[in-house]
């Protein structure tokens, strides 16, 4: 669409760094970005909404006389940009000095691999409005095909795709760009329960390449089955049970583990993992690596947001904590070598069994298919989440359950990990497999 100008992103970023230095910044880094984004929503047999735009932006990190600010703007008119940078530098001058704020040491930029990560699918440029609509329509048909009981009330589906480009330049020698496509398909299904409830469920897929999306009928059917599976759900009794968490839902648990691994959390004493490096915090089955070079990976990259060259990073080995996520700022404050400020893709040491076999082994317990709300305390590790899913009896899925909570402490919880599936969830950079924990406190009736 219209906002795409032909200006090269690299030039935009270089000019911004030059301008910042002319206006008084001692160091600066700039990231210019552009994204083209199209989404089609379809609801109950007809087109609901089409949105389409190309958006752009520029973000800058400014280092002015030992002081720091990070600013961004979507207003790239030359005179507006010049004024913006001047104003931002003036604001920065009002702040306190911070000796730890500097650009990354240039050696952290070195050693970038030249591997092709295959993040851009040329198919994105040729997709037509009709193809997007057809996908959304077939998603609905798939969902409705699952409806043998006539219980489906409404189906909303969506298909979207995007091309995102960024280019980063720093005044101490970093340059690097990234282009990537992404395709997203989703189906949300509502069903009528006999007691007036209208349970909803969804399924979705995210991929770098169009051909890696599941076919629309399959994805839609899974969403329909998920919604219909909720019918008649009841609240189970409070109990301590074995809990299996399906690969899609398991990402929520991993997120609460990763947050306290950030340098900022450690330096600010807001992490239950502070001081635990080299210690066993999970069972032997907790084996996790941050793996930035997965081909077509959703979180794949050659360098991180600061420009640090991306390398595989062991996080947990046999349950022992091996690394934190440390950016250059908190690295200086903590006197620790920077790793990277945030995760790319997670790579799990997978088990040998699929979910059905894990449930057969577990015999009695609950399979959690999604979490609702809840939170975790990063400082103490205490957590509590709403859950829904299915009771597992005799190793098989039994009745649907909902309106229950789990609670515990992460200090203890990860040691209860007793099985890991062979089914990484590819629609998220966390790539979680099915996880099984024993002795989990459920609250219900």
């Amino acid at each position: 669409m219209s906002t795409t100008n032909t200006t090269n992103l690299a030039d935009v970023a270089r000019q911004a760094v030059d301008l910042a230095r002319q206006k008084g910044a001692s160091e600066a880094a700039a990231t210019a970005s552009r994204m083209r984004d199209v989404e089609v929503k379809w609801r109950d047999g007809r087109l609901d909404k089409v949105s389409e735009a190309t958006t752009r932006g520029l973000s800058l990190q400014l280092y002015v006389e030992g002081r720091y600010s990070a600013v961004s703007t979507s207003d790239l008119r030359p005179e507006a940009l010049e004024r913006f940078i001047s104003d931002s530098i003036a604001m920065t001058r009002a702040l306190a000095r911070d000796e730890h704020r500097r650009l990354p040491e240039p050696e952290l930029y070195e050693g970038r691999t030249q591997v092709d990560l295959s993040l851009e699918d040329p198919r994105q440029a040729t997709l037509t409005a009709d193809e997007r609509q057809s996908f959304a329509r077939e998603l609905e048909a798939g969902a409705r095909a699952a409806d043998t009981k006539g219980a489906i009330l409404s189906v909303t589906t969506a298909f979207g795709d995007a091309l995102r480009e960024t280019y980063r330049v720093s005044s101490n020698g970093f340059e690097g760009g990234l282009r990537g496509t992404q395709f997203v398909a989703s189906a949300d299904v509502s069903a009528q329960d006999s007691d007036g409830r209208r349970p909803e469920e969804s399924d979705y897929a995210v991929a770098r390449f169009f051909e890696n999306l599941p076919d629309a009928a399959t994805l839609g059917r899974r969403a329909g089955e998920r919604a219909l599976g909720r019918l008649g759900s009841t609240k189970g009794a409070s109990a301590v049970l074995t809990m299996a968490v399906d690969n899609r839902a398991a990402g929520r648990l991993v997120s609460m583990l990763l947050g306290p691994m950030m340098g900022g959390a450690l330096q600010q004493k807001r992490s239950f993992l502070d001081g635990k490096l080299g210690q066993k915090v999970g069972s032997d089955l907790l084996v996790l690596t941050d793996e930035p070079h997965v081909k077509r990976g959703l979180g794949s990259r050659l360098f991180d947001g600061e420009g640090i060259t991306a390398r595989p990073l062991p996080l947990f080995e046999g349950g022992v904590l091996r690394s934190y996520f440390i950016d250059t700022y908190y690295g200086r404050k903590l006197k620790a070598r920077p790793t990277t400020g945030n995760p790319s893709n997670l790579s799990w040491k997978l088990g040998g069994k699929e979910q059905a076999a894990l449930l057969a082994d577990m015999k009695e317990g609950i399979l959690v298919t999604s979490f609702l709300g809840g939170n975790s305390n990063a400082v103490t590790g205490d957590f509590s989440f709403g859950v829904q899913g299915f009771r597992v009896r005799g190793g098989k899925l039994a009745e649907p359950i909902g309106e229950m909570n789990i609670s515990g402490s992460q200090l203890d919880f990860w040691k209860r990990l007793v099985a890991v599936g062979n089914d990484p969830y590819v629609n998220s950079a966390l790539r979680t497999p099915t996880l099984v924990f024993e002795g989990v406190q459920f609250a219900g009736v």
Binding site: M1, S2, T3, D37, L47, D48, K49, V50, E52, A53, T55, R67, Y68, S69, A70, V71, S72, T73, S74, M91, A94, L95, A96, R97, L153, S154, A158, V184, S186, S190, R197, R198, P199, E200, Y204, V206, K235, S238, Q268, K269, R270, L372, G373, N377, V379, T380, D382, S384, F385, G386, G402, E403, M404, N405, I406, S407, Q441, A443, G444, V445
Partner: protein
């Protein structure tokens, strides 16, 4: 890439400060909405105030009536029924204190226009950050493609809608406040927090403000402009005792200016943040299971946001996917239960003079004397239900089409007394402070996360509790609200509501209430 596309975000939630960012998975989701100083209709400083100009704030960006008329004409070029343009300029600044110094600042400038074309109940949407005729016309043609018919004429004349309320008039807009005026506030709070309790070992502060404006121009020729300020302040501290650490946060927010930060308010921020943290050393997770729950006046309004607010947003009901879809005009709660969604609370975070479709919001009764009365409408749902829009059409920014959204949602005072309510509970919990909540609109299950509270034993508050999720089913829980006190408090915290990947600022409140039974997460059932 773009947020809001994964199934996860279709759930609807509310979160407090930074929690909202995490929950939304939205990266830099700011905890506020729009911007600064109101200088009356027509022309805040810098605008062209010429006699023929009806465009105030946005004149500085070259926006004029010709540009708007031509864009609307392009938007209707395929026969759309209706179109609106949503211009937005928002400058968000935050300054943060960490380790004793205000040593980082962040500014984000958003400038752009969204073009929406409506055909029946179908929507075409596009936006651009270039406020030029070429770029806007191109965006309009993209959005226009939702329709497929002969062109309809756009408005020949535009008229400025002037009768908008003035719910957040500032003495001085945030664009005129210098950093040097904010820094001493943060430094003073930091010193006070350390002084308040020797166990405090880390303090972080975040002070955010916004200035800017929105302009809605629609195909009926109506022009509405609103200058929308916002500010928020969070104090978060870590305390240490006998080798154990705890943390907690207190925040305040409003569509207000620098005068919002009165000495009393700043004292309260320190007192609450520190006391809510240090009490956690004595707190445990409560027992698990169903029990009576007393919700303290104020931020417990999160119950209403999740248990009924989202379910009353008309888009879900129009689609038949809300658990409330067939309950309008039916009794759903005790007759002393009255719930409103109100855009009119002056200087509140959830207040708006106009919604993001240009409609003036009022106070909307969701539940009156226990009967479900009104859904929350945007213009599409209002047309469907043949009612007046309620002023609930809101959006995160020009990058999004509006949806029915809450503003300030609270329960009106009832017949009981707080002490009487606590005394009535033999064994249960009292909840006073929350971080986030979430709801499944159709099944009706909702949760909220309790950061602070107490056990109630034999009618008295006893041991402190912490970190527990509560889960219930909206309509069933509302039926079980069996006592409502007379002590309504609208919370001053900075709540952000997420729906369909869009975050908007909201307020919430409630008097002390008793829920006869609800499931409390916890330990050792």
């Amino acid at each position: 890439m773009s947020r809001g596309k994964t199934g996860m975000t279709r759930r609807d939630f509310v979160g407090y400060g930074t929690t909202a960012m995490v929950m939304a998975g939205a990266g830099e989701l700011l905890t506020g909405c729009a911007t600064s100083q109101r200088t009356g209709q027509g022309g805040p400083g810098g605008g062209t105030d010429g006699p023929s100009s009806s465009i105030g704030y946005f004149a500085r960006f070259g926006v004029d009536e010709t540009l708007i008329r031509e864009t609307l004409a392009a938007a209707l070029s395929r026969g759309g029924d209706y179109s609106d343009l949503f211009f937005q300029h928002r400058v968000s600044t935050s300054m943060a204190l960490e380790d004793g110094a205000v040593n980082k600042a962040f500014t984000t400038v958003e400038l752009g226009v969204g073009v929406r074309v409506v055909k029946g109940d179908q929507t075409g949407y596009a936006y651009t950050e270039e406020l030029t005729l070429d770029a806007m016309r191109s965006a309009a043609r993209t959005a226009a493609a939702i329709a497929d018919g002969p062109s309809r004429p756009g408005p020949q004349r535009l008229h400025v809608y002037k009768e908008i309320p003035q719910r957040y008039v500032l003495k001085m807009g945030w664009d005129a406040v210098r950093p040097e005026q904010k820094l001493p506030i943060l430094e003073g709070l930091n010193a006070s927090a350390f002084k308040a309790d020797p166990r405090v070992s880390k303090v972080t502060l975040s002070f955010a403000d916004e200035h800017g404006a929105v302009l809605v121009a629609d195909s009926n020729g109506r022009l509405v402009e609103d200058v929308q300020p916002m500010t928020s302040l969070y104090l978060s501290c870590v305390a240490e005792q006998n080798g154990k650490r705890e943390q907690n946060t207190y925040g305040v927010a409003g569509r207000a200016g620098l005068e919002f930060y009165s000495p009393e308010r700043l004292d309260r921020v320190v007192r609450e943040a520190v006391s809510r943290t240090t009490i956690l050393f004595e707190a445990t997770q409560p027992p698990a299971g169903e029990m009576p729950v007393v919700l303290a006046a104020g931020s417990s309004g999160i119950l209403l946001h999740e248990a009924i607010g989202h379910g009353m947003e008309a888009d879900f009901n129009r689609k038949g996917t809300s658990i409330y879809a067939d309950k309008l005009n039916k009794p759903i709660a005790h007759p002393f239960v009255n719930i409103v969604d109100d855009g009119t609370n002056e200087y509140a975070r959830g207040a708006i003079n106009v919604d993001d479709e240009g409609n003036v919001p009022d106070k909307t009764m969701l539940v009156e004397n226990g009967v479900l009365t009104t859904y929350l409408h945007d213009s599409i749902s209002a047309k469907h239900y043949k009612v007046k829009p309620t002023g609930n059409g809101r959006r995160e920014s020009y990058r999004y089409a509006p949806l029915p959204r809450m503003r300030s949602t609270y329960m009106l005072p009832g017949p009981h007394k707080r002490d009487e309510i606590i005394a009535s509970v033999k064994k249960g919990i009292y909840c006073s402070n929350f971080s986030n909540g979430q709801v499944n609109i159709g099944a009706g299950d909702f949760t909220f996360y309790v950061k602070n509270g107490y056990l109630i034993e034999d009618g008295k508050l006893t041991r402190p509790i912490k970190d527990v999720n509560i889960i219930g089913n909206g309509p069933r829980v509302l039926e079980k609200v069996d006592m409502v006190a007379d002590d309504l408090v609208i919370d001053e915290g900075g709540w952000t509501c997420g729906k369909d990947g869009q975050g908007v600022p909201v307020s919430q409140g409630i008097p002390t209430v008793r829920v006869a039974s609800i499931t409390v997460g916890g330990r050792n059932a």
